[in-house]
Amino acid sequence: MTVVVAVAKRAAIFVVSLWVASVLVFLACSALPGDVAQVILGIGADPASVDRLRTEFGLDRPLIIRYGEWVGGLLTGDLGDSYLTRRPIGPDLAPRIGVTVSLVVCSMILAMVMALLFGMHAALRRRHLDGFLTSAGSQIGLAVPAFWAGILLVVVFAVGLRWFPAGGHVPLSRDPLGWAHHMVLPVVSLTIVQSAVLTRYVRSAFIEVLADDHIRTARAIGWRQFPALMRHGLRNVAVQVVTVLGLQLASLLVGAIVIEQVFALQGLGTRLLDAVAQRDLLVVQGIVMLLVLAVLVINFLVDLAYLAIDPRLRTPGGTR
């Protein structure tokens, strides 16, 4: 029963957040200076024809009506038509979603695996030189901007050694090997910062858990240190790390936009930047809403993960 209530509560929060986000995204885009009609017709165009084009796009109508139309479309999965290309936005974005998702998901998984390994090592060996070096290494990784890492990787591994292509994308469904080959450098450059951030969280979470009374109990009943940590510490670490993972997703998406530029990947990020430059606001709104949706869905899943991990949240009498 408590589980049902807890899930319902989080689902309600999800829906409300999504609605608030749609209002904010719409208002922010409306407030942007610049005008798509002006961009299409050029700086020297006469005001009358600019006004005519604005009327044709429906941009002269009140905000509330335009918002209603846009959200109504979103609910049926219709993102509207691009002002510039006059083509529906949804089908235009569909193939790009795959590019961005594979970039983000691969980076997330790789970053998580590396963070667990390095973070645990840094925590368990924190009083030794090697643990200190791991910790210091994560500090350096934290300071490296993703785009710089990307450029450096291209110079060394694409231009210099010619091991990997410097850019471009092959769909996974067409050629899995080619896809992987093209994804290596972008994923690695995005992963460097992410894994460094997560490593620090995993390290401090493990250090905290190591000092927990119930880990001492586990040792006292006959577990050796590492198994004790795996059996009785990992869940408690997971609660903390999963939280950060949800929060990091937003910064990962921002990183992906930059990395797509560096590696000329035809993903959502490159399209977003183009659309902003061209004041093609419906495209901007559509992409930003997709990104918001992704972040909210992940954070909703994070909340559900808490319920799975921590019994104090799903059984009566929990005081956490």
Binding site: T217, A220, I221, G222, R224, H232, N236, R320
Partner: protein, 284 residues
């Protein structure tokens, strides 16, 4: 004469460059014997216990000899010690609220202690878990086994911890202030539970406390620890009747407030002993 279950000789423990936490401590616990180790916080009681269990943090430096159930403990590989812990020797800690894993049902946590040291079929393990939970006075053992720690009270949790410590019938149980975090009524029931369970298991006990009144209920011999050294080692009756060290005299006087004449100030340890060396004995 049988071999002691625990023998400590010249044990010293040093953390970093500080004064030794434990400085040349020697004592033994005979099979089935109950020894109380008392002293104020910071006197080195808990460090002694952790050294005996081989659970000191890695930055601690030790010297001396510790024999546990006939095996040397200090500087032995962790695998060897892990086989002893929870099996031949077990430990009950102070904090029942946090000593158990919050994410695991307590039945599984008790079963783990069995599974770590015995090859037993699952059905038998379950039966043994329920049996021991019942033996430590938990009503409805099946329901308790199926609960998470947060669903139990402090007293119930400490009973679970006692069950975990006794389930493999160890030779020695080390109790580190096991009742300090409990309220007085629960304290009394847990003490009498420990008393009967230890007797039934025939286990020796090293009982650590700062409270002479608590130790007196359970132990037959008392070690008084002060600044990392054992300053007095005598049978309980002798400690109570004729304490030798001024610090012990202070402990006895403060534990027997029923002997203070009505209206007079309660004694404190400082009346008998102070670290500056000038012992005030005006109460005599």
């Amino acid at each position: 004469m049988t071999e002691p279950v625990l023998e400590v000789a010249g044990l010293s423990v040093i953390f970093g460059n500080r004064e030794p936490a434990v400085a040349g401590v020697s004592f033994a616990v005979e099979p089935g014997e109950r020894v109380g180790l008392i002293g104020e916080s910071g006197s080195g009681k808990s460090v002694t216990a952790l050294a005996v269990m081989g659970l000191l943090p890695e930055q601690a430096r030790t010297s001396g000899v510790v024999w546990l159930a006939g095996q040397p403990v200090l500087d032995r590989p962790d695998a060897e010690l892990a086989a002893l812990r929870g099996n031949r020797v077990s430990m009950i800690f102070q904090e029942p609220m946090t000593a158990l894993d919050p994410t695991m049902k307590v039945g599984r946590q008790v079963a783990e202690v069995i599974g770590l040291h015995r090859r037993v079929a699952r059905g038998q393990t379950r039966a043994r878990v329920l049996e021991i939970l019942d033996a430590v006075g938990l009503s409805g053992p099946a329901r308790v086994a199926n609960s998470y720690p947060h669903q139990l009270s402090g007293g119930q949790r400490q009973r679970v911890v006692v069950a975990m410590a006794l389930v493999n019938t160890p030779d020695l149980v080390i109790c580190d202030e096991p009742t300090t975090a409990l309220d007085v009524t629960v304290q009394a029931t847990v003490l009498s539970l420990l008393d009967s369970s230890l007797a039934e298991a025939g286990a020796g006990c090293l009982f650590i406390s700062h409270d002479l009144a608590v130790v007196a209920q359970l132990c037959t011999r008392i070690l008084v620890m002060l600044d990392g050294k054992i300053v007095e080692d005598a049978p309980l009756a002798q400690i109570l009747a004729e304490p030798k060290h001024p610090y012990t005299r202070g402990l006895v006087a403060t534990a027997r407030i029923d002997q203070v004449p009505v209206g007079e100030r309660l004694p404190t340890v400082a009346d008998f002993w102070s670290r500056d060396g000038d012992v005030e004995e005006e109460l005599r």
